[in-house]
C-alpha cells in the first residue's frame, strides 16, 4: 500500500494507486478497474460489436439473406445496387448481399480454424520448449526461426500452391505460418513461469512435466495468448482472403469474400460494386478483431495496468 501510493505520488504519472489491503477489496477493485478500463476505451466496444455482429449474421444467414448465395440469374447479372439487390448482383446474377452474408460463415471458419490449429500447436510447442529447455529448446527455436525467415504471405502461398488450391489447404497453410508466433510467445512465458515458486513446489511434490505444462505453464500464458489469438484472427482472415484472391483459397462458387473481390476485379471499370462490398466486409472484420485485440492487450497487460 505504502509503495503504490508513493509510486503515484512521486512519478506523478500513474492513475491507479495500487491494490488495497484486504483480499476481498482487492478482487472488487481489480474488477472495477477492469470495467473502468473497458469503459474508457469506447473503441474496444466498437470492435466487440463488430465481432458480435459477425457472429449473429453468420448464425442467422438463412434468414437474413434474401437469396441463396449460389443461385444464378443470368438475366439479372451485373445489376447495380437497388432495393431488390441491396448491393447489386455479380457476373452470374448472384445477389452480392446474400453472398456476403453467407461469406461471414467462411470468415468465422477461417478465424476459428487457424487460431485453433496454430494456437494449440504453437502454444504447446512453445510451452514444452521453454519448460524443458536445453537442446530441445535450441532445436525447436531454430526451426521456428527458419519458418520465420519466410515472409508469411510467401510461405502461405507456396504451401497452398504445393498442396493444391482449396480453402482447406489455404487454412492449413495459414495455420502453419502462424505457429511460430504462438510458440515464441508461450516459450517466453514458460521461461518466466518455470522459475516461479509454485511451479518449483509442484515439481518438488512430484508433479510430472506434462502436468506442470498443462496445469501451470499453459494457463499462465493464457492472457498473452488470448491477445495474440484475437489479433491472429484478423491476420488469418486477411491472409486467407489474399490467398483466395490469388486463386489459391476458396474456389468459385463459394461465397468467400477474397474470391469475390478477385472476381469483381475484372469488372472494376464499369461494375464497381462487385469488388467493393466484399472488400469492405473483410476490412470491417479485420478492424473488429484488431481493435478487440488492442483493447484486450491494454486491459490484460500488467505493465499498463500499473
Amino acid at each position: 500500500m505504502q509503495k503504490s501510493i508513493s509510486t503515484v505520488a512521486s512519478a506523478g504519472g500513474g492513475v491507479y494507486p495500487g491494490a488495497p489491503r484486504r483480499g476481498k477489496w482487492f478482487k472488487d477493485k481489480e474488477l472495477g478497474y477492469t470495467v473502468h478500463l473497458i469503459r474508457q476505451n469506447p473503441l474496444m466496444l466498437a470492435g466487440l460489436m463488430i465481432i458480435i455482429l459477425l457472429v449473429v449474421v453468420a448464425a442467422l444467414a438463412p434468414w437474413l439473406a434474401p437469396y441463396r448465395p449460389t443461385s444464378v440469374d443470368l438475366g439479372g447479372r451485373l445489376s447495380p445496387p437497388s432495393p431488390g439487390h441491396l448491393l447489386g448482383t455479380d457476373e452470374m446474377g448472384r445477389d452480392i448481399f446474400s453472398r456476403i452474408v453467407y461469406g461471414s460463415r467462411i470468415s468465422i471458419q477461417i478465424a476459428v480454424t487457424v487460431v485453433a490449429i496454430a494456437g494449440v500447436i504453437g502454444s504447446f510447442l512453445g510451452a514444452v520448449s521453454g519448460y524443458v529447455g536445453g537442446r530441445l529448446d535450441t532445436v525447436m527455436m531454430r526451426v521456428m526461426d527458419m519458418i520465420l525467415a519466410f515472409p508469411s504471405l510467401v510461405l502461405a502461398m507456396v504451401l497452398a500452391a504445393v498442396l493444391g488450391p482449396s480453402l482447406t489447404n489455404a487454412l492449413l497453410a495459414v495455420s502453419f505460418v502462424q505457429i511460430p508466433k504462438y510458440a515464441r510467445l508461450v516459450r517466453g512465458q514458460a521461461l518466466v513461469l518455470r522459475e516461479k515458486q509454485f511451479v518449483k513446489a509442484a515439481r518438488v511434490i512430484g508433479a510430472g512435466d506434462l502436468w506442470i505444462i498443462t496445469r501451470h505453464i499453459l494457463p499462465g500464458s493464457l492472457s498473452a495468448v488470448l491477445v495474440l489469438a484475437t489479433m491472429g484472427m484478423a491476420e488469418a482472415i486477411l491472409l486467407a482472403a489474399s490467398l483466395s484472391f490469388i486463386g489459391l483459397g476458396a474456389q468459385p462458387p463459394e461465397p468467400e469474400w477474397g474470391a469475390m473481390v478477385a472476381m469483381g476485379r475484372d469488372y472494376l471499370m464499369d461494375q464497381w460494386w462487385l469488388a467493393t462490398f466484399p472488400g469492405i466486409a473483410i476490412f470491417m472484420v479485420a478492424v473488429g478483431f484488431n481493435i478487440l485485440g488492442d483493447g484486450l492487450r491494454d486491459i490484460l497487460d500488467p505493465r499498463l495496468r500499473q
Partner: protein
C-alpha cells in the same frame, strides 16, 4: 517576502486525479529556503516530498496532476504563474535538480560528455569548445579521476557513484541558485553515499548555492542540512534547525522517526516502527493527519488541524501538544546517534 529567502512555498496544494478518487498528495505545504542554506525535507516515501520538488520546477504532468492552490516564490516571483518558456529558462540554470537513480537519469545512447555539453551550451551560451572546457572543469571539481576519459563514456559503462558525480557536475555547471536533490544517495552504496554528500556540500558552499535535500534518511540530514522540515502525509509537521530538531523534537511523528533511526551506540536496539500505516491520501483522516497513529492524540486531534506553534524563532511545530515538555518521550537516546553520524 523576506529578501534573504530564495524560495518560499506558501500553502501549496497538489492533487492527482485518479480512477479511485483525488489523491491529495500535498496539502498546504509551507517551506522557505534562504540563500546559501541547505534545507532537508524529510518524510516517509509517499508523503509528498518528491512531488513538491517537481512542482517547484513545474514538472508535474497535468493531468493527472493538478496544482490546487498556493504560491511558489523564487526570488520573489511566483513560479506557478510563469509561462512554459520562462520555466524552461529557469530550469537547469537557476534551479537544478538531481534525482535518485543516476543510472537511469542519463540518456543511455549519448556519451556522458555530450550530455553535459548540451546542457552547458544551453545555459551558459558558450561555444561547443568552451562548453567542453567547462564540463571538464566541473568533472574535475567533483573529483572525477581522468575527466577526459569520462567525457567519452556511455552511462552504462560507469558505476552509480560515478554517474551521480557526473549528475552533480552537470547540474552545478549552470551555477544555479538552488539545487533540488531528491534522495541523491539512496541508490548508492553506503560507502559512496558519504563521499557524494561531502562533495555536494563542499561544492554548494563554494558556489554559495542553496539546496533543498529530499530524503527519508535522517543520517543524511544530520550530515548535510542547516534546517529540516519534516513532512507527513502531504503536510509539514515540524521545521527546526537541524541540531534543535535532533535534540528537541516536538512533533510525535518526528519523535517516531527518530525512534526508527538506528542508534549505532546501541547494538541491541531494535528499530522502533511507527504504529499503523501511512494514511490513504484519497480520504485523509480529518483533523491532524497523524492522529490515527499518534501515541498522544487527544479528542481535539481528530476534529481540527493544529495550527503552527512557534517553539523558538525558527522552530515551528504543527501539534496541539507541542509546548509540553519534550523529554517525556520514551524513544530517547537519539541525539547521541546523530552526533556520531554527523
Amino acid at each position: 517576502m523576506n529578501a534573504a529567502n530564495l524560495l518560499e512555498i506558501h500553502g501549496l496544494h497538489l492533487y492527482f486525479d485518479t480512477y479511485l478518487g483525488t489523491v491529495r498528495a500535498v496539502e498546504g505545504l509551507d517551506l522557505t529556503v534562504s540563500r546559501g542554506e541547505t534545507v532537508g525535507l524529510v518524510g516517509e516515501s509517499g508523503c509528498g516530498k518528491s512531488v513538491s520538488a517537481l512542482a517547484i520546477l513545474g514538472l508535474i504532468s497535468q493531468p493527472p496532476g493538478r496544482i490546487a492552490g498556493g504560491k511558489i516564490l523564487f526570488k520573489g516571483e511566483d513560479l506557478l504563474k510563469k509561462s512554459p518558456a520562462e520555466l524552461r529558462n529557469i530550469r537547469g540554470k537557476y534551479i537544478s535538480m538531481i534525482f535518485q537513480e543516476p543510472m537511469s537519469s542519463l540518456n543511455p545512447v549519448y556519451r556522458v560528455g555530450d550530455q553535459m555539453v548540451e546542457v552547458i551550451m544551453l545555459h551558459r551560451r558558450v561555444s561547443r569548445g568552451e562548453a567542453r572546457k567547462i564540463a571538464l572543469e566541473m568533472l574535475h571539481e567533483v573529483q572525477m579521476p581522468d575527466p577526459e576519459a569520462v567525457m567519452q563514456k556511455y552511462p552504462f559503462e560507469m558505476s552509480g557513484g560515478m554517474l551521480q558525480r557526473v549528475m552533480i557536475a552537470m547540474e552545478l555547471s549552470g551555477k544555479p541558485d538552488l539545487l533540488l536533490a531528491d534522495e541523491p544517495t539512496t541508490a548508492l552504496d553506503v560507502t559512496v553515499q558519504a563521499q557524494i554528500l561531502r562533495l555536494m556540500k563542499n561544492l554548494v558552499k563554494k558556489m554559495n548555492a542553496s539546496v533543498l535535500l529530499i530524503t527519508h534518511d535522517l543520517g543524511v540530514v544530520a550530515q548535510t542540512c542547516d534546517r529540516v522540515a519534516v513532512m507527513y502525509a502531504g503536510q509539514v509537521v515540524e521545521v527546526a534547525p537541524t541540531e534543535e530538531l535532533f535534540t528537541d523534537p516536538r512533533h510525535p511523528y518526528t519523535r517516531g522517526l527518530m525512534g526508527c533511526f538506528p542508534d549505532p551506540n546501541r547494538q541491541d536496539a531494535e528499530l522502533a516502527a511507527i504504529e499503523g500505516t501511512v494514511p490513504d491520501l484519497i480520504n485523509p483522516p480529518g483533523g491532524c493527519r497523524f492522529h490515527p497513529r499518534c501515541p498522544r492524540a487527544g479528542d481535539i486531534c481528530g476534529k481540527e488541524g493544529p495550527g503552527p506553534v512557534a517553539i523558538s524563532d525558527d522552530h515551528v511545530v504543527h501539534c496541539f501538544f507541542a509546548r509540553q515538555a519534550s523529554d517525556d518521550h520514551s524513544e530517547g537516546g537519539t541525539g547521541k546517534g546523530v552526533a556520531v553520524l554527523g
